[in-house]
Amino acid sequence: MNETKKAVISVLGLDRKGIIARVSGVLYNNDANILDISQTIVSGYFTMVLVADISSQECVFDVLSDELTALGEEMGIQIRAQRSEIFDSMYRI
């Protein structure tokens, strides 16, 4: 059985150029496929939630997560990757 593994990537911080480009760059380099993006800007604060398929053999969650955290630190925003199961189990019976 080859179940789809999904990650939820959340980005919070002051808006600036290139956030989506660079986050999707990291995902592309890790062979993760973006399934859904939603994004809002509330009084200059950027909030993006992105769902990605990370089932690929080439995609190691640990590496992806570390790279995204590092990118967040570099850009001065908070980027976090979490396996999607936590959200499914909290809100779905």
Binding site: S10, V49, A81, I86, S89, Y91
Partner: protein, 450 residues
Amino acid sequence: MVTTSEILSTLRMIDKQKLDVRTITMGISLFGCVSDSEERLCERVYDRIVHQAARLVKTGEEIEKDFGVPIVNKRISVTPAALIAGAMKHPQKLARALDRAAYETGVNFIGGYSALVHKGMTETDKAVIASLPEVLTETERLCASVNIGSTKAGINMDAVRMMGGIVKQIAQNTSASGGFGCAKLVVFANAVEDNPFMAGAFHGPGEGDCAINVGVSGPGVVKSALEAVRGRPFDEVAETVKKTAFSITRVGQLVALEASRRLNVPYGIVDLSLAPTPAVGDSVAQILEEMGLEVCGTHGTTAALALLNDAVKKGGVMASSHVGGLSGAFIPVSEDIGMIRAAESGALTLEKLEAMTCVCSVGLDMIAIPGDTSAETISAIIADEAAIGMINNKTVAVRVIPAPGAKVGDSVEFGGLFGRAPVMAVKPFSSKDFIGRGGRIPAPLQSLRN
């Protein structure tokens, strides 16, 4: 798929409301380590724990990273020491082996230096209990517990008498740290076999070889949820707590199943407890205050706590396939910023805490009392609490700290998750002759319950 607002709500719970999994506790049976040689027994115990729990801390950290939810503690509970130390003259050696194993595996506490003496005491039980002052002074990560009563057996008043003196002795031995040794000892009635929370965790004799038990937390999440129903009737308060408890418990269930799978160890239970920490916004007392009490401890507190405790269970039971452990709201005074404030303001007293323990989990927990409190008075506090547990068919515990040299109005600092304990008043009247009697209080009737 979940919605963006649900995802953001979870992130808020983790970042702002301090949602966490309080502990993954691996229960390990030590029956297979029994030997008539003290050295061999200690060696086998050490090897068994270090082997079984080798990947516990690392796996906990991996799960934490994958799901982005903090897992605060990784711990081990073992078979009560007195059950496997029958051939030992010096159970202290076993205590040291357990402490070393905890150190080697990287867990912050190991529980199970315990004796179950609710009906009677074996020579081994006596030796383990007598060694507590020495053991809890010398070791760093070892936690101990003694079960002195149960609904089925009554209360062993000989053991209760003994424990008053033991608690006092431990406080004196560890006077440099405000009597901190006492924080590592829990005196129970109706102790449970699968409790993942320290200091009272042990792996009961009815358990299997190994099990993963998880304790959830999240008082801050419940408090925030209740802010949305300010001024509304209690029906809505209860519904809100239930829904929140469901979400919190699902995180615990997910972590428990994942830990069980990754460690290849059976999943035991999820403990549905609201466990506070001294951090602001992580307080059970503040939930009660959010319900409309000026300060925790005033009239109405027991009713508020009863509602909270029941609603947490109702929401949590649905969220988990196996619920167990202590499962209820904890009210440790030193570990809850709201309780500390309430005690300092004079609203929360020992008597009120005793009443609160009738409707919630555990008992008189992390309470500092004056250093000159007599051993008999401590025994009498234990007896009162045990009576509540025995009659009401629930787990109760006493973890009091007679802080050496401290008086009412003083404050004892323990640091970290153990927090700060305002010294609370005890009655100045003697219970000496009462405790001096010894013997057993018979088991209570189970019918005609009024």
